[in-house]
């Protein structure tokens, strides 16, 4: 969109100025249009003075207020800082303002107002202002003229407060050299604030007698340290105007911590001492502060704290700072160790030993001996049902089986009581009993005993047969008294399956084993002829065995050959038949 001409912009400004305040309450398109035009115009007018702005012109089409404002802000932030700095400088040197802009007579009020507004924001921008100094130095000359123009147009109704502040900056344009000096002074001010007397001394020395004008204005409005510094310096000048510089210097140089704060006991004590020592050190800024600020309690405290902080460590190196930090931590931890532990760190704590309702704040960890109630979800029930179905299909139920009773002593034989009339007479019964008692072997066997015997013999036979089936080694025949067959098998084999004692004695005695007859001679005893005879016998035997083997082998081979031939023949025959068949088929 094309940028509107200057005239259009001024017109828009006029229009805005002329609208009644109530009209602003309701949103109107025309007003917004004119406002945008006006802001664009102003932006354009300012743009040349700023070196590093990203926008060449203010973009207002379809941008909402916040975005427009941000653009303006980007442009004007550095400007504002530089302007403030300027104004401050002019505060200190009001004479320069007159030199710069003789025109600004009616703008004096505005200047004053601007100062107020500026100084309220001073603290924040001081540090930033230092950094922007170099950037803004070049632009300052141009800025001043344009700003004044803008200011005269009176665009205060717009949303641009920053512009307002810029407009009100007034004062002479200084050289770089002077600017740097100002910077230096500013830095010294800061140092003095942080580090103590000496800087202030220097400051006071330089600025003696130059700030009477500003003091009165500043007194009522400022509550900040900068102001205080200025005041102090002014007071110094006021009270001791008349060339006490040298004296001040000497006394400041001789001043020690103890002079102000006693023997390093704390911040509270120095206060009375301050008053006591008023007479002694005439040049101490703190005393003067004391006097001046005794009415202002807040300021007092600030100052004292400041001084205490400044006095004790002086200038600490980084290492010393770290060491201090560590020391403080160590102290903390030692203190914690010495103190009695908190109730959470003690072991078992009853309600009486801890503060009321303290258990509510702490996360307590319990051991729940109760198993949490199972949440029955669909999945759980489904899984259970599946198990049930499976079990039913398999037929595997968890029926309770009767536990086998402990093996008590064997149940005694209970003779079944006969309910029939006994055949024996009483005498016979007693006779049997008597006989049994006296001679158990000779007792005639009862009917049941005979049956038992028969049964036991049958069972033994059966067991023998079964054992023979399952054992690898020979199981001995049952002992039948009439005949016993002994074979020369190692005794181990004839005994039980798990013999208690292992014995490899043979069942038969050597003479039983020996199967020979006649006079048996050992090798050494043989004569030559006998040896020969033996050898010949052996050979004969061997030959006989060999021939037997050969014969059997031959027979087998013949058989195999015959079989083969047979099969071959069969194969040939079948082949021929097939051929014939094929031929027949073909012919057919």
């Amino acid at each position: 969109m094309g940028r509107p001409s200057e005239a259009a912009g001024m017109e828009a400004l006029h229009q805005l100025k002329s609208t009644e305040p109530p009209q602003w309450l309701a949103p109107s398109a025309s007003l917004s249009e004119s406002a945008r035009a006006a802001s664009q115009h102003l932006f354009a007018s300012l743009r040349p003075h700023v070196r590093k702005s990203p926008f060449d012109e203010l973009l207002v089409d379809n941008f909402d207020a916040e975005q427009i404002w941000q653009q303006i802000d980007l442009l004007t932030q550095p400007l504002v800082r530089s302007i403030r700095r300027r104004v401050k400088h002019w505060e200190k040197n009001p004479a320069e303002i007159e030199n710069l802009l003789p025109e600004v007579a009616d703008g004096g009020k505005k200047v004053a107002q601007g100062k107020k507004m500026e100084e309220i924001d001073d603290d924040d921008d001081d540090d930033g202002g230092d950094m922007d100094m170099d950037d803004d130095d070049d632009d300052d000359d141009e800025e001043m003229d344009v700003d004044n123009d803008g200011e005269q147009d009176g665009g205060k109704d717009e949303g641009d407060e920053s512009e307002e502040e810029e407009e009100e900056k007034s004062g002479g344009i200084e050289d770089k050299f002077l600017k740097i000096k100002e910077l230096q002074e500013h830095l010294e001010d800061e140092e003095a604030r942080h580090y103590g007397l000496d800087a202030k001394n220097k400051k006071s020395k330089k600025k003696s007698g130059s700030k009477k004008l500003e003091d009165e204005d500043d007194d009522s409005e400022e509550g900040e340290e900068d102001k205080e510094e200025d005041d102090d310096e002014d007071e110094e000048v006021d009270l001791f105007a008349g060339g006490d510089d040298e004296d001040e210097e000497d006394e400041m140089g001789n001043a020690r911590y103890e002079d102000f704060f006693g023997k390093k006991k704390g911040g509270s004590e120095p206060k009375p001492r301050f008053k006591d020592e008023l007479g002694e050190d005439s040049s101490s800024g703190e005393e003067e502060k004391e006097e001046e600020l005794s009415s202002d309690d807040d300021d007092d405290e600030e100052e004292d704290d400041d001084e205490n902080v400044n006095k004790k460590p002086k200038v600490l190196s980084t290492h010393e700072k770290e060491v201090q930090k560590i020391k403080s931590e160590i102290e903390k931890m030692e203190k914690a160790n010495l103190d009695p532990k908190t109730w959470t760190m003690q072991g078992e704590v009853t309600a009486a030993n801890r503060p009321k309702n303290s258990a509510l704040e702490v996360d307590l960890d319990f051991e729940h001996n109760v198993r949490p109630v199972p949440v029955i979800t669909e999945e759980v029930t489904q899984s259970l049902e599946e198990i049930i179905k499976k079990r039913i299909i398999e037929g595997q139920f968890d029926d309770i089986k009767r536990a086998p009773g402990l093996p008590s002593k064997a149940p005694r034989e209970l003779k079944p009581v006969d309910e029939n009339k006994s055949n024996k007479g009483l005498a016979e019964v007693y006779e049997e009993e008597f006989v049994q008692q006296t001679d158990p072997a000779a007792a005639p066997l009862s009917f049941s005993d005979e049956q038992k015997k028969e049964a036991s013999t049958l069972f033994k036979k059966l067991c023998l047969k079964l054992d023979a089936l399952s054992h690898f080694h020979f199981a001995p025949k049952p002992i039948i008294e009439d005949m016993s067959i002994q074979s020369n098998v190692p005794a181990l084999a004839m005994e039980e399956i798990a013999p208690v004692a292992v014995s490899d004695a043979a069942m038969l005695a050597p003479e039983e084993v020996f199967s020979g007859k006649g006079n048996v001679k050992a090798e050494v005893e043989l004569t030559q002829t006998e040896r020969k005879r033996r050898r010949a016998k052996k050979k004969r035997k061997f030959k006989a065995v060999e021939t037997k083997k050969m014969a059997s082998k031959k027979a087998r081979e013949d058989e195999l050959r015959k079989q083969k031939e047979g099969t071959l023949l069969v194969v040939q025959v079948t082949h021929l038949c097939c051929q014939i068949n094929v031929m027949l088929n073909q012919k057919l």
């Binding site: 005694r412 209970l414 003779k415 009581v417 006969d418 309910e419 029939n420 009339k421 006994s422 007479g425 009483l426 005498a427 016979e428 019964v429 007693y430 006779e431 009993e433 008692q437």
Partner: protein
């Protein structure tokens, strides 16, 4: 009196044979008479020879039946070896009269320690009319099986004669049988009695 190294030889101890029945009673004969109840008259006639034989031959006691008096008379002979034989025979005959079988009663002759114990139902419990009848029935059981079971278990012989009960056997066994019978009279079921009997007999068998 001088004590010599060797005392004079003492005469040998005399050996006396036991006195015979005759000698004991100085040659007098002893009698026993056992009355025969009417219901045992015919069985006596039937079993007379079985009674007579052991008595006369083994026990060497004379025995005769006095038909007019309806008594069995027993008399010692000259060669009756022991005076107790007469008593034994008398007991034997008496047992038969009570109702025992001859073969059972013969045990009395052969063994010394057998006794006969008799008691009545009313000694145990006063029962009247039907109750008495039922008690008797309980004692014998169906087909006599309870009685037989007690007999077999305790090695005794029992005779149930209406109200009277006779038990023949050794002292211990009589006691067991008597306890069983009394419990039956008092109303115990036969099964219970049987089980008790079994326990008791097993225990008693273990003792020996």
């Amino acid at each position: 009196m001088e004590i010599d190294g060797v005392a004079p030889p003492v005469p040998e101890k005399p050996l006396f044979e036991p006195l015979k029945a005759h000698e004991m009673s100085d040659g007098k004969v002893q009698f026993r008479k056992v009355s025969v109840p009417p219901h045992r008259y015919t069985p006596l006639k039937k079993a007379w020879m079985e009674i007579y034989s052991p008595v006369y031959e083994q026990m060497k006691v004379d025995i005769r039946m006095n038909l007019k008096a309806r008594k069995v008379e027993l008399k010692t002979r000259g060669d009756t070896p022991d005076i107790s034989n007469l008593q034994k025979c008398a007991d034997f005959v008496h047992a038969f009269m009570m109702g025992f079988d001859v073969i059972d009663a013969v045990a009395l002759l052969r063994m010394d320690e057998l006794y006969v114990d008799s008691f009545e139902i009313k000694d145990v419990k006063t029962l009247k009319g039907e109750h008495k009848s039922r008690a008797i029935g309980r004692l014998s059981g169906k087909g006599g099986k309870t009685k037989f079971s007690i007999e077999n278990a305790t090695k005794t012989r029992i005779v149930l004669a209406d109200e009277k009960i006779h038990i023949l056997g050794s002292f211990r066994n009589i006691k067991i049988a008597r306890d069983a019978l009394c419990s039956l009279i008092l109303g115990a079921p036969p099964g219970k009695v049987n089980s008790k009997l079994r326990q008791v007999t097993a225990r008693s068998a273990e003792l020996f």
